[in-house]
């Protein structure tokens, strides 16, 4: 433990919502110049703690004992007026979604100028000059032009840089960062992280960095606190938390973090004819206006994916990676008939011309599981009804009643049979995703397309879902088209990996060969940007 006096300290703090205790006896201290990482799964209370420190709690929150001190002053004793002055000047914050934290009707420069005028009492010209310098410092080219733009005219990374500039502008003593890179794609996230580390070292600000990503936090924080069900269960130097965790919970959390060097799939797919082959698939969005078509002046429609070719052998796991908007999901939707496409699609040698040509056989063989289990299960249908539909369409296994077949499906995904009577809102996120997987497997498919199916889940649940998929593959020999942005995860399980960038398939290689010297420049940039676990 360092002996420097803490800039931010939380001492035995309790918080509850009604009878639910959100935070219990929280003790944290962040000395000057240090970064404390706060890691926890959803519902662990990490965001509640951030709001408690900001003194911005909802009315339903009831505070118990304990103190929250900023440089020795108890923030709980402050009036609302005093807190308004402290927020932004002595206590800065950066939130997850930059487009939500910037006012869409204000130019980007105004966000920083406002902070400087209010908290540094600068005149407008002084503030403008300082803002320009700040924006240059956070790595924005042509800061003067950027200041005149509105938030919708800037990219996510540029917006987050402006938010960081605004947070650092008032030279705060302490910064709170709540998942500042989660909404950004991998490469931008890496750049933002580097920028933050530089600025933090330069200004010596104390920072509390909140995240669900243990691998990422262990890279930038000196100490890591792990929060579980409202309690801090571990508070140790970063390297130690990862390599030698003390608590059982932390050990489980560390074990669940995907490590690319730890392969989960050993067998190679059989050298058989591909079950699904795509040749030069292009998917376009939008439609031609009638008048434009009549005038013969139709402009080509924008393509979500261009000339993509890939094939999937029986039982193979093909990973598809790329940032958001790269066309991964576009391809997935085209394969199950939700998007029209140009180019050739062959299923076991049979040519499928388009969504209309997808017959029952094809639809049975190719199933999809979507990203958000909340959205993919109809909230008005019971789990039993949801699982009965594919059975009604594709047939029930021999000698089983509909009821028994549903129970068998639930058993396959390790859920109790009485879940059939429940409704989706009575299930947790992981359980809902298991139901969605059961629905896909009801058809006994040859290929299941997994469209980011773990990215809305906590890391420990993600590990369980991946385990389940691998078990089902073992049992039924199913091939997966596994779409994800998590390179570490996909390198654990995929046989081959396809890399997509802005609608193009830039590389398709064996997992082991990925990132080698012949690799595409974008692939290497992607691999460099991924935080790999330390230790």
């Amino acid at each position: 433990m360092s002996e420097a006096p803490a800039v931010l300290s939380v001492e035995g703090y309790d918080l509850s919502y009604g009878r639910f205790a959100a935070l219990r006896d929280i003790r944290l201290a962040v000395p000057r110049g240090q970064v404390l990482g706060l890691v926890g799964e959803s519902g662990s209370g990490k965001t509640s703690l951030a709001y408690a420190i900001m003194r911005h709690l909802p009315h339903s929150a009831v505070e118990g004992g304990g103190a929250i001190r900023l440089s020795g002053q108890d923030l709980r004793a402050m009036t609302a007026q005093q807190m308004r002055h402290i927020r932004g000047s002595r206590l800065g914050m950066v939130f997850q979604d930059p487009s939500a934290s910037l006012n869409p009707t204000l130019r980007l420069g105004e966000h920083v100028i406002e902070v400087l005028r209010r908290h540094k009492r600068l005149t407008r010209p002084e503030a403008r000059d300082r803002t320009e310098a700040m924006l240059r410092r956070v790595g924005l080219r042509e800061p003067a032009a950027m200041m005149r733009r509105y938030p919708h005219e800037a990219s996510g990374g540029e917006k987050q840089r402006v938010v960081i500039a605004a947070a650092f502008a008032a030279e705060p003593e302490c910064l709170l960062l709540d998942e500042p890179t989660t909404a950004l794609d991998v490469i931008t996230a890496r750049q933002i992280l580097e920028l933050f580390t530089e600025l933090q070292a330069e200004t010596g600000v104390a920072a509390l960095y909140i995240s669900h990503d243990l691998a990422l936090v262990s890279r930038i924080a000196q100490r890591v606190a792990v929060i579980h069900r409202g309690r801090v269960v571990e508070n140790d130097p970063a390297a130690q938390v990862f390599s030698n965790p003390r608590e059982e919970y932390t050990r489980r959390l560390v074990a669940a973090v995907p490590r690319p060097d730890l392969r989960l799939v050993r067998d190679a797919p059989a050298e058989a004819a591909p079950v699904l082959a795509v040749q030069g698939m292009t998917v376009r969005y939008g439609r031609q206006g009638l008048l434009q078509r009549l005038a013969g002046r139709a402009a080509p429609l924008p393509a979500g994916a261009r000339e993509v070719s890939l094939e999937l052998r029986p039982g193979e796991i093909l990973g598809v990676v790329g940032e958001s908007g790269s066309g991964k999901s576009t391809i997935a939707k085209a394969l199950v008939g939700l998007n029209g496409f140009e180019g050739a699609l062959r299923h076991e040698g049979r040519s499928i011309a388009g969504p209309a040509a997808m017959d029952r056989d094809y639809r049975r063989a190719v199933q999809i599981v979507f990203q958000h289990p909340d959205a993919s299960l109809n909230p008005r249908q019971s789990i039993g009804q949801i699982l009965s539909r594919p059975l009604a369409l594709y047939g029930t296994p021999d000698g089983l009643s509909r009821r028994d077949a549903v129970a068998a499906l639930l058993e396959e995904v390790q859920l109790p049979a009485d879940f059939a009577q429940r409704y989706p809102h009575q299930l947790s996120g992981g359980q809902k995703q298991r139901v969605a997987i059961a629905r896909a497997f009801a058809a006994r498919p040859k290929v299941v397309i997994c469209d980011e199916i773990t990215s809305s889940l906590d890391v420990s649940i993600q590990a369980q879902i991946v385990q389940l998929l691998l078990q089902l593959r073992e049992r039924f020999g199913t091939g997966y088209l596994f779409i994800t942005h998590d390179l570490n995860l996909v390198r654990q399980i995929a046989h081959r990996i396809a890399v997509m960038y802005r609608g193009d398939l830039v590389e398709l290689a064996d997992t082991a060969a990925l990132g080698g010297p012949q690799s595409h420049a974008y692939t290497r940039a992607l691999l460099d940007a991924v935080p790999t676990p330390v230790g």
Binding site: K333, G337, M358, R360, A375, S376, L377, N378, P390, R439
Partner: protein, 274 residues
Amino acid sequence: MPDTLRHLLRTPQGLIGGGIILMALLAAIGGPAIAPFDPEAFHVRARFSGPGATYWLGTDQFGRDILSRILAGARSTLFLAVAATALGTVAGAVLGTLSAFIGGWVDEALMRIVDAVMAIPNLLFTLLIVTVLGASGVNALIALGIAFTPGMARITRSVALAVRQQDFVNAAVARGETGSFIVLREMLPNVVGPIIVEATIRVAFAVMGLATLSFLGLGAQPPSSEWGLMVAEARPYLFRNAWMMLFPGLAIALVAVAFNLFGDGLRDALNPRA
């Protein structure tokens, strides 16, 4: 559903609105039975009397008891209003959901037609339909139902468009479900919440719309004691006995306000985030 009801009765709007509607329903069901007099009976010696001990709300130009007539009229007024709203709601909901599901030029064409119909003022449109169909209570009902359809279609479509984007609809399409299954079984159950709220508020408009038609002589016909008709019949005697017009007018306003409050309460109760 009992949960929604409990939430509903916890809001003041829901409680007051629900209470008044319940009273109106009792009048509609048992109106003639609890009425102190026969609504059609003439009391020639007591014409144009004000509120008093015998005739609580006074009498009209023939000496008919106004309280009895209001109680008896609740049946036709409420029935017509609810039926007109139901007609417009069902037609609008199916049209709107279908339009959202099919999309493309079908959606475009349907919505432009809806726009065109909505551009005609509502009262003018109902008058037009009644003029074509002829003046009667049932025709007024049909006219109001048709007039409500475009608005309901518009509201349903906007909700259904959001539902259309949900992955459970995508999953159904990918599974190879038929269009009618997706519209009726997957989408409609998820759009009924906002539609019920809107429909409840629209009953208030229907009550007033029907009263307006009856007042103009295009709805219910004498000797019915439909409330709008009662107001219309009282008009020539406004200066001799203002009570004749006041009480049915109040009844219309009260029921309209009650349905509005009930709709507001229902909206809060059905919205889990409130």
